[in-house]
C-alpha cells in the first residue's frame, strides 16, 4: 500500500512536471516564435508616437507578433525598398496620387481577396477614399484616417465686422473678404479677409474643385479643363478677389504671413480672417493658440447645390509584395483601417478624420464642434478627391503652372490658356501611354 502510494505520488509528480514543462516550453516557444513585423509610416514626432500607441495596443493583444514601427518614411524610400525586394511587412504613404504605380506594378499586393475572405465590404469607407486606394480596379491600399478640407473663420473678426454667420457662396465670401480686409497707413495689407492665391498655404486645385463641381477629364479620357465652364467660374472669381487686393500686395503680405506649420500661421495670429484648410488645423490651434475664437464650416461654393462638399485625401496603407508575413500584415492592416476603436483613438491623437463611416460617429471621438464639421464633410456624397492617372499628379501640376500665371495677371485669354493646358495634359498622358479618368 505504502509502496503503491509512493509510486502514485511519483507518477503524479512526473505528470505534473511534464505538464508544467510542456506549458512552459510552449510558452517559451510562443515567445521565441513571435513573428517580427516592420511597419513603415510617414508620420514623425508627436504624430508618430500616437501611431505607435495604437500599434502597441494591437501588439499587446496579439502575442504572436512583435511589431516595429519606423516613421519619417517618404515615397522615395518606399519605391527603393520595393525595387530592392527588402520591403517592410506593412507600408503607408501620404502620397495617394502614387497609388497608381503601387497597384499597377504589384509592388503593393491586391487586398481584394483578403477583404472578401473576411467579409469586409468596401462600402464601410466613403466613396472618395475608395477611389484613391485603388487603380483600375486593383485595390492595393486602404485608407488610414483622412484629410478633409473645410472653411475656417475668425469669429472675433467677423463679429467686429457685424457678420453673424460664415459665408456660403463665392459671392458672399468675396463680400466678407472685402469687409474684413484692413490696410496699413502705407497701403500694404494688414489683415486679409480671404487669400485666394493658389499656392498659398493649402490653396490648391484639389481643394477648390468640389466647390464648383468641375470635371478634370471627359468620358474619352481627355483633359476637359477648357470645356468645363465650372473651372472658368472658379478662376474668374479667384482673379476678381485677387485684383481687389492687388496681386503684388498680396504676395508681399504672404511673405510675412508666417510659416504654415508653426504658431506664426496668419490665421492663428488673426492676420487672416478666413481660409481653406484641413481638419488638422483644429489640433494646431488647440496647441498653439487656444485663445483663438474661431469656427469651421463647409467652404463657400459657386453653386448652392455643392454646399457641404469638400476635398478628401489622406494616408494610404498596404502590404508590399516583398513583405514576408502577409497574413499577419493583413490582420494589422485590417485592425488599423476598419476597427472603430483604433481609428477613433488615432483620430483623437492626431486629429485627422477617422476613415470609416461608422468611426466618424464613434463615441470614443473627443467631442469638438470644430472638428465635427470635417466628419460631416467627409461623408458628404459630393465631396471628392483628385483623379489618379498614369502621370501621377503631373496633370494638376500643369494646371497649377497655368494658374500661377493667370492669378499674376499674365494671361490675356483664359479660354485659349485653358485649351493649351488641355493640350499639354493630353500630350503627357499620351507620352506615358495612358488616358485620364475622372473621379466617379
Amino acid at each position: 500500500m505504502r509502496r503503491r502510494a509512493t509510486v502514485a505520488i511519483a507518477l503524479l509528480v512526473i505528470v505534473l512536471a511534464a505538464t508544467v514543462g510542456v506549458v512552459s516550453s510552449s510558452a517559451s516557444t510562443e515567445r521565441t516564435t513571435a513573428t517580427t513585423m516592420t511597419v513603415w509610416v510617414g508620420w514623425s514626432a508627436r504624430e508618430l508616437n500616437e501611431f505607435k500607441k495604437v500599434v502597441a495596443e494591437y501588439d499587446a493583444k496579439n502575442a504572436n507578433v512583435d511589431i516595429k514601427v519606423l516613421g519619417g518614411i517618404n515615397d522615395d524610400k518606399i519605391i527603393a525598398a520595393l525595387r530592392s525586394g527588402n520591403a517592410p511587412d506593412v507600408v503607408s504613404s501620404f502620397t495617394s496620387s502614387n497609388v497608381g504605380i503601387y497597384c499597377s506594378s504589384g509592388g503593393w499586393i491586391d487586398l481584394s481577396p483578403y477583404l472578401k475572405k473576411d467579409n469586409i465590404s468596401t462600402s464601410i469607407f466613403p466613396a472618395a477614399t475608395m477611389y484613391y486606394t485603388q487603380y483600375k480596379g486593383t485595390r492595393c491600399a486602404l485608407p488610414l484616417l483622412a484629410d478633409v478640407y473645410g472653411f475656417y473663420y475668425n469669429k472675433t473678426l467677423l463679429r467686429k465686422a457685424g457678420l453673424t454667420r460664415p459665408p456660403k457662396t463665392f459671392a458672399e465670401l468675396t463680400a466678407y473678404a472685402k469687409k474684413l480686409t484692413t490696410r496699413k497707413g502705407d497701403g500694404t495689407l494688414d489683415v486679409v479677409g480671404f487669400n485666394p492665391v493658389f499656392g498659398f498655404y493649402q490653396n490648391g486645385i484639389g481643394g477648390y474643385q468640389p466647390l464648383v463641381g468641375a470635371k478634370y477629364f471627359d468620358a474619352a479620357g481627355k483633359s476637359s479643363i477648357s470645356s468645363d465652364p465650372a473651372w472658368k467660374t472658379l478662376l474668374n472669381w479667384q482673379k476678381g478677389l485677387i485684383d481687389f487686393y492687388g496681386y503684388d500686395k498680396l504676395v508681399k503680405w504672404q511673405t510675412g504671413a508666417g510659416d504654415e506649420f508653426s504658431a506664426s500661421h496668419a490665421f492663428e495670429r488673426g492676420k487672416l480672417a478666413m481660409m481653406l484648410d484641413g481638419e488638422w488645423r483644429v489640433a494646431f490651434i488647440a496647441a498653439e493658440h487656444p485663445e483663438l475664437k474661431y469656427g469651421t464650416a463647409p467652404m463657400p461654393v459657386a453653386k448652392k447645390s455643392q454646399y457641404g462638399a469638400g476635398y478628401i485625401n489622406g494616408t494610404i496603407i498596404g502590404i508590399p509584395k516583398a513583405g514576408k508575413n502577409r497574413d499577419e500584415a493583413w490582420k494589422l492592416v485590417k485592425y488599423l483601417t476598419t476597427n472603430d476603436h483604433a481609428l477613433a483613438r488615432f483620430s483623437n491623437g492626431i486629429r485627422n478624420v477617422p476613415s470609416t463611416r461608422s468611426s466618424t460617429k464613434s463615441k470614443e471621438l473627443k467631442p469638438d464642434p470644430n472638428f465635427a464639421t470635417f466628419g460631416k464633410l467627409f461623408v458628404n456624397p459630393k465631396s471628392s478627391t483628385i483623379p489618379i492617372t498614369v502621370i501621377g499628379a503631373d496633370h494638376l501640376q500643369t494646371f497649377q503652372n497655368f494658374i500661377a500665371k493667370w492669378q499674376a495677371g499674365k494671361v490675356k485669354d483664359l479660354q485659349a490658356g485653358l485649351a493649351e493646358v488641355d493640350k499639354q495634359i493630353d500630350a503627357k498622358l499620351r507620352q506615358a501611354g495612358g488616358a485620364g479618368n475622372d473621379v466617379p
Binding site: S104, Q397, Q431, A432
Partner: protein, 333 residues
C-alpha cells in the same frame, strides 16, 4: 639545305621563346597596372559607366521605376523636342542664369583675388572671410538668403525702407528670382577665388618689371601680363561655371519651395507651380528631377539627361575650341 633549315629552326626557337617571354612580361605589366587601377576602374564602372549606359538605355523606354520598362523607341525624344511645353522655358531659364552668373562669377572671383594680392595687412583674415561662404552647405546658404531677402520681414528690405526705397519681392518676383539666385552664387564664390588667387600670385614678377620698364601702367599690366598669363585658369573657371550652371538644382529648388512658404496639400500633392514664382526658377535639372522622382517618368527623365550630357559636352568643346587662340599655355622661363 637540310643543315641550313635545321640551323635556322634552331636559331628560331629561342627567338620565339624570347617573343613569348616578352609577351608574357608585357601581359604581366598590363595586369599589374590593371590591378593597381582596379579600385578606380570598379568605382568608375559602377558609379559612372553603368549609370551612364543605363541612362542611355532607359531613354528609349517608358519606365516608372516599379513596372518593367516598356520599349517606346524614340517617343521620349519626340516628346522632348516637339511636345513638352515646359522644356523650352526650362532651357531659357538655364541659359539666362548661365549668361548672368558665369561672367559675374569670373569677374567677382578674379576681382577679389587681385584685391587680395594687393592687401598690405590682414591678407589671411580677408582670404578666410571671402572663402568661408564656400564652406556653407548650399541648402543652408539658400535658406539664409531667402530669410535675408524676405520682402516683408527680411533685413534687406527693412534697411531699404529706412532709406525710403521699396525693396523688390526678390525670390517671390519672377523678374527678381534669377538675379537673387545669381547673388547667392556670387556669395559662395570662394573656391574659384582661391584658384584665381593662386594663379595671380603665380604670374612671374619679372614680367611685371619688364612691363613697368616699358612704361606700362596698372591697367596695361593687367591687360597684357596678368590676363594672358592666367588665361588657362579663366578658361577653366568659365567651363566649370557653365557645367555647374547646366546642372543648377539645389539652390533653385530650395529657394522656390521656401519662398513660396508652402509644401504640399492632402495626398502630398504640391499646390505650387513648378519653378515658383511663375516658372522663373524652373531650371532644366529641376524639371528633370520632377519627371524622374515626382512623376516617376524615369524613361523621359533619362532622355532629358542624355540631352543634358550632349549639350554640356558640346558647349565645353565649343568654349575650348573658340578660345584656343586667346588662351596661352606657353611657359615663361
Amino acid at each position: 639545305m637540310t643543315s641550313t633549315v635545321t640551323g635556322a629552326a634552331l636559331a628560331a626557337v629561342p627567338a620565339v621563346d624570347r617573343r613569348r617571354a616578352r609577351r608574357r612580361a608585357g601581359w604581366r605589366r598590363r595586369l599589374t597596372v590593371l590591378a593597381f587601377l582596379s579600385p578606380w576602374l570598379a568605382g568608375f564602372g559602377v558609379f559612372f559607366g553603368y549609370p551612364l549606359l543605363m541612362t542611355g538605355y532607359l531613354s528609349f523606354f517608358h519606365y516608372d521605376l516599379l513596372n518593367p520598362p516598356r520599349w517606346v523607341g524614340l517617343a521620349n525624344y519626340r516628346y522632348l523636342f516637339g511636345q513638352d511645353a515646359q522644356i523650352w522655358p526650362a532651357v531659357e531659364n538655364t541659359l539666362i542664369f548661365i549668361a548672368l552668373s558665369v561672367p559675374l562669377q569670373v569677374l567677382f572671383a578674379f576681382g577679389i583675388a587681385v584685391l587680395l594680392t594687393r592687401a598690405k595687412a590682414g591678407v589671411g583674415v580677408f582670404r578666410t572671410i571671402f572663402y568661408l561662404p564656400a564652406l556653407v552647405p548650399p541648402v543652408a546658404a539658400t535658406l539664409g538668403f531667402v530669410y535675408l531677402l524676405n520682402p516683408a520681414t527680411g533685413p534687406v528690405n527693412t534697411i531699404l525702407s529706412w532709406l525710403g526705397v521699396e525693396g523688390p519681392l526678390w525670390f517671390n518676383d519672377p523678374a527678381w528670382s534669377k538675379p537673387s539666385l545669381v547673388m547667392l552664387s556670387l556669395w559662395g564664390i570662394g573656391n574659384t577665388m582661391i584658384i584665381f588667387l593662386a594663379a595671380v600670385l603665380d604670374v612671374p614678377r619679372h614680367l611685371y618689371e619688364s612691363a613697368e620698364l616699358d612704361g606700362a601702367g596698372a591697367w596695361r599690366r593687367l591687360r597684357y601680363v596678368t590676363l594672358p598669363t592666367i588665361s588657362p585658369v579663366i578658361l577653366f573657371a568659365v567651363v566649370l561655371g557653365v557645367i555647374q550652371g547646366l546642372q543648377y538644382f539645389t539652390q533653385a529648388f530650395v529657394a522656390a519651395s521656401v519662398a513660396a512658404g508652402q509644401a504640399s496639400q492632402g495626398g502630398a500633392v504640391s499646390t505650387l507651380e513648378l519653378g515658383y514664382p511663375e516658372g522663373s526658377t524652373l531650371f532644366y535639372p529641376v524639371l528633370l528631377y520632377y519627371h524622374g522622382f515626382r512623376f516617376f517618368n524615369m524613361g523621359y527623365a533619362s532622355a532629358m539627361a542624355v540631352l543634358l550630357l550632349v549639350v554640356a559636352f558640346a558647349v565645353t568643346t565649343l568654349i575650348i575650341r573658340g578660345t584656343r587662340r586667346r588662351v596661352h599655355y606657353g611657359t615663361t622661363a
